[in-house]
Amino acid sequence: MNLRSVNMTDNKKGLRRNGTYRRLHIFFTSSLFILGLTFIGQGGYMQAKAYFAQFLIQQAWQKTLDDQQQHKPWSWADTYPVAKLEFLASSRARTQDQTLSQADSADTKKNPSLYVLSGASGRNLAFGPAQVLSSAKINSSGNTVIAGHRDTHFSLLSGTKVGQLMTLQDGAGAEVLYQVVETQVVHESDVSVMADLGEAKLTLVTCYPFDSAVAGGPLRYVVTAVPLDKVEAI
């Protein structure tokens, strides 16, 4: 009996200690769980924001096309769409006529298209690719620079090859067909890619490498495209 009661107290102690551990464990597990959810939520929010904002921007762009005025995608926004960028599903241009017909037929298919905002500030870039303010106007005879996030909108730049076609539509509805002539990786301080040499050019900038998980790297992936009728001249 004696032995048994001693055993009982041991058991009780063990259970009590066990209870403390249990609470600790539950606390630890649940806080880990919540923390994990928070991070996934944050990351997912960024992705979702990038994805769904494009729908609102698309509506604003439609209004802009209708009345040639600037329209904010949502009332508290500090930006407005300035262009629509469409990546055409064709690889190489043989002749211009061919390409143009190709482009026409491509219109019927679903091409990835993006709505470009005005001003490449960190806030705007979360919603869509954005035009760098100091660069030339859309489809003007200068260097138009558009930046976008590598992990959302401009993730499709990773597949860009020389010869890739894209159209850029300005606020008046006019479309210019561009062809990629060069892709390069530059350091973020190398602003020569933004230089305006008075020649019509479209420069797309995104972060590099594409599969890096963390933001803030010093390299940029730069895609240079020129209007198709000028490809031969270069």
Partner: protein, 748 residues
């Protein structure tokens, strides 16, 4: 007993590995969060990208293209010779391209030059022969160059990429061959606070970019590109040794100041100085590592400090009969050619130095200032930009004196003012202002027009105070030309100083706005720059100025001078005005302005290239023969035209600039210098590889936008934590189950 022991120990044993699990979790959390905190660090696991960042930091010539291919280096030597005579500096810059590869190479090299450099000459040395470069319209020069490139001829092309960034291209460099490309430019030396200085921007960490990809787009068959890429690949292996090569720069300066020199100093480099006599010196810098700009200071003996000066020169440096004949034949109504027409041969070019009166008692005439601080709090300023803007304003407030007054305006979709009327700059008001600034938040639209209206329209009718408007923004506006008109119409006696904030502000807009507002433009790119840039700018603002400066002939007519709007004069900082005079015009000038609200004037005259200032003393450097002043005149005119460029007048301005550039043989953004050897050098059918040596751009100008979020990292990290918590939860469930089991057994 045995069971009890196991039971007693079992939670402990399980806890040990659970502890390990906790440790692992904490370790993960620490590693990943610190990695994310170090936002600038690239924590890539793939070794390719690690190598890229490493090598760029080492300043090597190696780089990777998008597909991860490595390229070879094209060694280059730079030799700079400067001849300073009086106020002008003639610089010749020799780039030696050496091809130590086994194939023919085309090279491209981008380099910075001083902002105001008038680039006029290009020479290419092939063996003993010298080929002089010709100035051509950009597209023409480019096609000439590419024709020569195709034909296998040696050629060189010099292009202006921005106001201060140039690129030199060479074609058909044979294996083992060295090609020297020499360019020359003219500049005016800088003079501030009694010290002369010149600056030569150096090339930092050049990189070399393969262009295989772009070649593929141009050539009909991709076989050519493939072979080029294969060549790069093979070279990647045997080029390891050359990875840490840095461009070496030799600089020689011939200093002929024309007045007794007190001391000579180069703050960033060890230079050898040999003094010939009081007025002349030779400075040499050999094999410098190009990691910071070369700066040379020299100070004249105090008694010889210049006060005001005119230098002049008759005729142009480049007489170009072809162009002038073309002009005569051209239709008379073309205003682009009108700008350069007439009397070019006999014209006289002058450089006029304007210095405000340097009286000891000048601080007494300083009028109280009224400082209007305008801060952009639109959504585009959110994040780092608004913080920089806030600290810039705090610095500006700190510089106010008791007799000054100030106000703060913030604008986004609307304009808000700190106070209705400007406040006295006493401690209480500044305290209120500081609290107000700290509370600012960035949100909403950018209605700059309203803010300008409020800032410029509140002007008191009669005032002795200097009214200075500090406009802090990122320039995110669409209606530029409307705003320019507004500044022009509403400015009155105010001065508009623009401060650009953030990664990529609209620099052109703000520079132009400041020019129209007769102020200056300052760019602040980083938080760490706020202090130095603001101090430099405020220092200037706090000193007395001569405003509304004008230059005219003694008879009242206005000479042809650039910049057309002469900026205000600040103490100790002269402004150089380039003038073009017809041979028969008056040689007497009157410079006038307002000094603290009082009319002030100064008379100057040219007499056979000598100069006389108001006191009648011939200046010490009167004997210096001035050369290349027409180049400086043309460069200043081009700069002024470039700034006035808007969407509406773009074509006309470009035409005008091209015409001036061709006439004076000075490079512009629309013209290039091209030198082509007549005889083909590369045999037919021999392969040619394109390359590019791209150095880092001058620091502190701009950066490419930041274009990534950490969403992937967050999701990965979050999933990892979830997985761990599940694992942990499961393991705990396992423990409690086993504990319960033991208890029951013990009860038996």
């Amino acid at each position: 007993m045995v069971r009890q022991i196991t039971f007693a120990r079992s939670p402990m044993r399980l806890l040990l590995w659970q502890r390990a699990l906790i440790l692992v979790t904490i370790f993960y959390a620490a590693v990943i969060s610190s990695a994310m905190a170090l936002g600038s660090m690239d924590v890539e696991q793939t070794d390719g990208s690690n190598r890229v960042t490493d090598e760029i930091q080492q300043g090597s010539l190696i780089t990777f293209d998008a597909s991860g291919n490595k390229s070879v280096s094209l060694p280059m030597k730079t030799q700079v010779t400067m001849q300073v005579s009086g106020w002008t500096n003639r610089v010749s810059l020799r780039h030696e391209f050496h091809n130590d590869q086994l194939f023919w190479v085309n090279g491209e090299y981008v380099f910075p030059l001083p902002n105001e450099a008038a680039v006029d000459g290009l020479k290419m040395w092939v063996g003993d022969r010298v080929i002089e470069g010709q100035i051509k319209e950009k597209a023409k020069a480019k096609s000439l160059f590419s024709d020569a490139k195709k034909a296998g001829k040696k050629a060189s092309l010099l292009q202006q990429k921005r106001a201060n960034i140039f690129s030199a291209q060479v074609a058909n460099l044979a294996p083992g061959e060295t090609l020297i490309v020499e360019l020359s430019y003219q500049e005016v030396v800088h003079y501030d606070q009694g010290v002369f200085s010149l600056r030569f921007p150096m090339v930092v960490a050049p990189r070399y970019q393969p262009q295989g990809a772009s070649t593929a787009a141009k050539s009909p068959s991709s076989a050519y590109a493939d072979s080029a890429m294969a060549l790069w690949d093979s070279l990647r292996l045997n080029n390891k040794s050359g990875q840490n090569r840095i461009n070496s720069v030799d600089i020689e300066v011939d200093l002929n100041v024309g007045m007794a020199i007190d001391k000579i100093d180069s703050p960033y480099h060890q230079v050898e100085v040999s003094r010939k006599d009081d007025e002349q010196a030779h400075i040499r810098l050999t094999a410098a590592t190009a990691n910071s700009d070369f700066v040379l200071y020299w100070q004249p003996k105090l008694a010889n400090a210049p006060r005001a000066a005119i230098f002049s020169q008759i005729g142009k440096t480049y007489e170009n009969p072809e162009v002038s004949e073309l002009d005569k034949n051209a239709a008379t109504n073309d205003d682009a050619e009108q700008a350069i027409r007439s009397k070019a041969q006999s014209s006289e070019y002058a450089l006029l130095m304007l210095l405000p009166p340097q009286q000891e008692s000048i601080s007494e005439v300083v009028a109280p200032r009224e400082l209007i601080l305008v801060i952009d709090t639109s959504g585009s300023m959110s994040g780092e930009a608004i913080e920089q803007a806030k600290s810039a304003i705090i610095y500006a407030l700190a510089g106010l004196r008791a007799e000054d007054s100030f106000n703060i305006l913030q604008f986004n979709s609307r304009v808000y003012a700190l106070a209705e009327q400007p406040l006295k700059a006493n401690a209480k008001n500044i305290g209120i202002a500081q609290a107000y600034v700290h509370s600012l938040q960035a949100n909403g639209g950018t209605e700059m027009s309203l803010a300008l209206d409020k800032a410029l329209n509140q002007q008191p009718s009669a005032t002795h105070s200097l009214r200075q408007v500090l406009f802090i923004t990122d320039g995110a506006v669409g209606n530029e030309s409307q705003l320019f008109n507004q500044i022009r119409n509403q400015l009155q006696a105010s001065r508009l100083f623009t401060i650009g904030i953030g990664a990529a502000p609209n620099g052109h807009f703000m520079q132009r706005a400041a020019e129209l507002g007769r102020g200056t433009y300052t760019y602040i790119g980083k938080q760490s720059e706020v202090k130095s840039k603001m101090v430099a700018m405020l220092d200037k603002l706090e000193k007395p100025t001569v405003t509304d400066v004008e230059v005219r002939f003694a008879d009242g007519s206005i000479p042809d001078y650039w910049p057309a709007t002469i900026p205000d004069l600040y103490a100790h900082e002269p402004i150089m005005v380039a003038m073009k005079l017809s041979s028969f015009s008056d040689k007497e000038f009157v410079v006038s302005g307002l000094l603290a609200g009082q009319y002030w004037q100064q008379q100057l005259s040219i007499k056979n290239s000598s100069l006389i200032n108001t006191n009648g003393n011939p200046n010490a450097n009167s004997s210096t023969s001035a050369k290349g002043l027409d180049l400086i005149w043309a460069r200043k005119q081009i700069a002024a035209l470039e700034l006035s460029k808007e969407a509406a007048n773009r074509d006309r301005i470009e035409k005008q600039i091209t015409a001036i550039s061709l006439n004076y043989h000075v490079m512009s953004a629309y013209t290039s210098l091209v030198a082509i050897d007549k005889t083909p050098a590369r045999p037919d059918g021999v392969k040619l590889v394109n390359g590019q040596v791209v150095p880092h751009m001058p620091k502190g100008w701009q950066r490419l936008p930041q274009t990534a979020t950490s969403s992937y990292a967050l999701i990965i990290f979050g999933s990892m934590l979830l997985a761990l918590s599940l694992l942990y939860g499961l393991s705990f469930a396992g423990v409690s189950r086993s504990v319960g089991h033991h208890v029951i057994k013990a009860d038996e």
